[in-house]
Amino acid sequence: MVIAVAIDESIDEVRVLADGITYPVLMDPDHLLTEMYAISNVPAVIWIDEQGRIARPNANEFGSDMFSEFTGRTCEGHFNQVRAWVHEGVVPDDADSQIADLDDDEVAARLHFRLAAHLRRAGDEEGAARHFDAAAELAPLDFTVVRAAMPLRGESPFGEEFFKLLEEYQAAGSPFHGINPAS
């Protein structure tokens, strides 16, 4: 089964994406999952077996080919891997990949983000900005920290700031906590 978790503040935006979906779609506005599972960008797909063991860790896999021109990867390969796992219990070679742990700064960035989002909900825009800034300073290439803050700061997550982040991210060798089949 699929459990989808929106690393997102906006239930309205998520509702649009979840239209017609029958599996659970959960809201994670406090980014609990990015801390627990060391997720640094979305989409991140994690395979969890019947016993609660991670069968394949964080991987940057897409549910459609909407971005395949951009990522150089289609979703069919992943779908086939999932089918083989579900029906035959076969996992791909990269399932043994060791995912790098978050460092202390990356953890602190997540906590600053959580406080910023909380202050923003309480109407404290100045306090929110201070902690979004602190988060971005600690984890400047983490999309769940920097890009996720863009719509909460009145910036477009598809605009100039995003392309600046993307450029810096790629210049740094695309540091991603997980398997990145496209890289």
Partner: protein, 135 residues
């Protein structure tokens, strides 16, 4: 005295004070604030106890430093004395168990209708956990 708000598994507001940037509470307020209780054997939660020696690392006078308590149990914190907040992160051991031992940490989140779901509600099934977003 002022109030200290802890953003942890829950949002908990407790009476306390800030001293040199440290969030201090009375010992009997600790459990409600961070989920750990100071007992003779150490800091305890459920059947788990963490030794704290003579307690000098977590005590300031007759009060307890919430950030030092969190540090003693290996949970990260961020504090904002001006706003009156302590953010209490997940135990670092939880993430390490996910990354090294491949144990999927359990979590509980609400769906779009507000109904809570836990990962463990679906134990016994193969689960594809998909983190996504609108951004």
């Amino acid at each position: 005295m002022t109030t200290i708000t802890v953003l942890g598994d829950e949002v908990a507001t407790t009476a306390g004070e800030w001293a040199d940037g440290s969030p201090l509470v009375e010992p009997d307020a600790l459990s409600a604030a961070v989920g750990w209780t100071l007992k003779p054997e150490g800091l305890c939660r459920g059947d788990q106890c963490v030794l704290v020696g003579d307690g000098s690392a977590i005590r300031v006078g007759d009060k307890l430093d919430l950030a030092a308590v969190a540090n003693a149990v290996d949970q990260p914190t961020v504090v904002d004395p001006d706003a009156g907040f302590v953010v209490l992160g997940q135990p670092n051991a939880t993430r390490r168990a996910a990354l090294q031992d491949r144990q999927a940490p359990d979590f509980t989140l609400a769906d779009l209708d507000g109904t809570s779901h836990s990962l463990s509600d679906y134990a016994g099934k193969k689960r594809l956990l998909v983190a996504f977003s609108s951004w």
